[in-house]
């Protein structure tokens, strides 16, 4: 056919110059290099903010703040929020959000306590049941999100109220006292076990939080599952088409988040000594705050889970630092509000200039 021959002629013109398209190598100055590094290392900004705020409060307050005691105190104070923030990060990486984390945390701890003391179960078994329960709650969220395809915000808004109400109904608002737990089921307080290194005091719960974050960061970076979590958060349809099982990934993320919250519930018993159904009621907002300050995008697929750890620590440093400066408790809330907006504005700015 004559027309397809003539038609194509003009296209061959493009081949005369056979230089391959190349990726541009940008020359950057010092500043440019720093920006580029900040851009590539999403946890770097919160880390810098964290170090800066420690230094500033240290300079303002002096030894009372800049002591191993005070600094490890921050770790102890943020451990519950930190563990929950790990769960929240996973979910936010898939472009979801989980309002029910606090409810799962406290209900799991109540189940561990009540199974031991109301029904006389051995503590180890009760803890196992609590962990399974948390996982089931997470799985319920995951099922509604991945199968019924409801928006995560709404699903967890609903399950939050459901789980919390069940928690009060089941526990009949009974507290189990620390002394009883100490005598009859010390395993429940395991996460509160202390050990000292110089003036620094660490608890098993703190070690657990840090280890959890490091393990999750490694898993997200170095396993296929981790890459799939990012891909699902980035563009679920593209992930599906390129061979990721989106539903299974989402389900596993929510279930894992539930399990982590149950661990947070266990750590909660270690921290407060007793089992109380009124704990952790603001853990959802606090964990979201930590994640957001840690530079993880609410739109999913971007950010490092270590950022959430730094975010939680930043809030902890601010709270303690402001208290030590003698600020009223209200002022702490005020400054944390300012901090949230400032952290995200800075993050946005860095992304913009280094784009």
């Amino acid at each position: 056919m004559s027309d397809n021959v003539t038609t194509d002629k003009y296209e061959s013109a493009s081949n005369r110059e056979d230089k391959l398209a190349e990726f541009e190598v940008h020359k950057r100055g010092m500043f440019g290099n720093v920006q580029h590094w900040l851009h590539l290392t999403p946890a770097a900004v919160p880390l810098i903010v964290l170090i800066a705020s420690i230094l500033i409060f240290g300079a303002l307050i002096g030894d009372r703040f800049f002591s191993p005691f005070a600094l490890t105190l921050v770790l102890q104070q943020v451990q519950i929020v930190g563990i929950v923030a790990a769960a929240q990060s996973l979910i936010i990486l898939t472009a979801g959000i989980d309002l029910s984390v606090g409810a799962i945390t406290v209900f799991s701890s109540v189940i561990m306590g009540q199974l031991t003391f109301r029904y006389g179960m051995p503590p180890s078994l009760a803890i196992l049941c609590g962990l399974i329960f948390g996982t089931l709650c997470g799985t319920l969220n995951g099922f509604l999100v991945s199968r019924i395809k409801l928006p995560p915000f709404i699903v967890t808004l609903g399950t939050w109220q459901i789980i919390l109400a069940s928690n009060y109904l089941y526990s009949a608002n009974e507290t189990i006292r620390a002394q009883e737990i100490e005598t009859h089921a010390p395993l429940l307080q395991l996460m509160g076990t202390k050990f000292q290194l110089g003036g620094a005091i660490f608890t098993l719960g703190v070690i657990f939080m840090i280890a959890l974050m490091i393990v999750l960061a490694w898993v997200l970076r170095h396993t296929a599952w981790g890459r799939h979590v990012y891909a699902v958060g980035d563009d679920p349809e593209a992930a599906q088409l390129s061979g990721v099982n989106v539903k299974a990934t989402l389900l596993s993320v929510y279930a894992l988040a539930g399990l982590i919250c149950a661990f947070a519930g266990w750590a909660l018993i270690g921290r407060i000594g007793s089992v109380s159904p009124t704990s952790a009621y603001e853990a959802n907002i606090e964990s979201i705050t930590a994640v957001v300050i840690g530079g993880i995008s609410l739109f999913g697929g971007r950010g490092s889970i270590l950022g959430a750890l730094f975010g939680a620590l930043i809030v902890g440093v601010f709270s303690l630092g402001l208290r030590l400066l003698g600020a009223d408790a209200q002022w702490t809330y005020f400054f944390i509000g300012v901090l949230i907006i400032a952290a995200v504005a800075v993050d946005q700015w860095i992304r913009k200039v280094s784009a």
């Binding site: 056919m1 397809n4 061959s12 990726f23 396993t223 061979g243």
Partner: protein
């Protein structure tokens, strides 16, 4: 025979359906679809559609916007599950419920939307869903990825195809230009497609030079003996590379023609309904 029934049911569909049935010098189709149906709400995207791909050939699929071409290849590649109908591969009936099923069977697809995760690296995207794990305990127990191996392979494939020289294989896909992304998607398909490669409008967003490279790549893949399905609105491209042309209209195969026997005008006329297709069209 069901072919006969179809012809009776729809008088406009005149050209010979499953072209291999003549059996003169033709092998079995490597991929065969029969009576595929897929509805979206009230839209019938596939309406008892048939389909045949012969070994080693380049089969072009042309048709108007919304004719159901993308849906057809999604059905073949497991991205959508047809409500009715059957798909055979190498004579065996297959049932893909997800794109990974089809990929395991050796069918690689470049979707119209490219299907890449913008924030992840080129290497991550190329191996998405079929990551290589480290040997030994790190891989087996801890399931650690073998990044160096994946990066090496990805770099190798991209340069093999001569599509581009990548400075940094760990660059996020979102930092690539449209053409470079297209290149990565095509390279991914060419690297892993062992049985069939499907390309949905691979040149739609590309400039002249990039389009040409993709066409060369297609012929390259064919020379390795792998059959290709190519969807395109670009008639000159289609007539240049295709061995046979599947004309899609209103959710089904209207007919299959040989580009040597017909002009572009004919193809367009069939496709748009301006002209009736030949009653007995032998697309060999």
């Amino acid at each position: 025979m069901d072919l006969f029934l179809h012809r009776r049911a729809d008088h406009r569909r005149r050209c010979r359906g499953p072209v291999d049935q003549k059996g003169i010098g033709m092998s079995e189709p490597i991929l065969k679809g029969r009576g595929l149906i897929k509805r979206y709400g009230r839209v019938t995207a596939l309406d008892r559609c048939d389909f045949d791909l012969m070994p080693g050939e380049i089969l072009a699929v042309i048709g108007d916007n919304g004719a159901g071409k993308s849906t057809l290849i999604k059905a073949i590649s497991g991205a959508v599950t047809p409500e009715e109908g059957e798909i055979w591969m190498n004579g065996k009936k297959v049932h893909f419920t997800s794109p990974s099923d089809a990929r395991e069977a050796g069918i690689e697809t470049v979707y119209q939307t490219l299907a890449m995760s913008p924030a992840l690296s080129i290497a991550d995207n190329m191996f998405m869903g079929r990551e290589i794990r480290k040997p030994g305990i790190m891989g087996k127990v801890f399931r650690q990825l073998d990044r160096p191996a994946m990066e090496k392979f990805a770099r190798q494939k991209l340069s093999d195809l001569g599509l581009m020289t990548i400075q940094n294989i760990n660059q996020a896909v979102e930092t690539l230009s449209g053409g470079q992304r297209q290149g990565v998607a095509v390279a991914r398909a060419a690297a892993f497609g062992s049985k069939v490669i499907i390309l949905d409008e691979p040149t739609a967003a590309l400039g002249v030079k990039e389009s040409r490279r993709v066409l060369e790549l297609i012929q390259d893949v064919k020379s390795r003996g792998i059959p290709i399905i190519l969807i395109s609105h670009n008639m000159p491209h289609v007539f240049e590379v295709a061995d046979r042309i599947h004309i899609h209209r209103l959710g089904r195969r209207l007919c299959v023609i040989n580009p040597k026997d017909y002009t572009m005008s004919d193809a367009v006329a069939f496709m748009t309904g301006a002209k009736e297709p030949p009653t007995e069209e032998l697309a060999a």
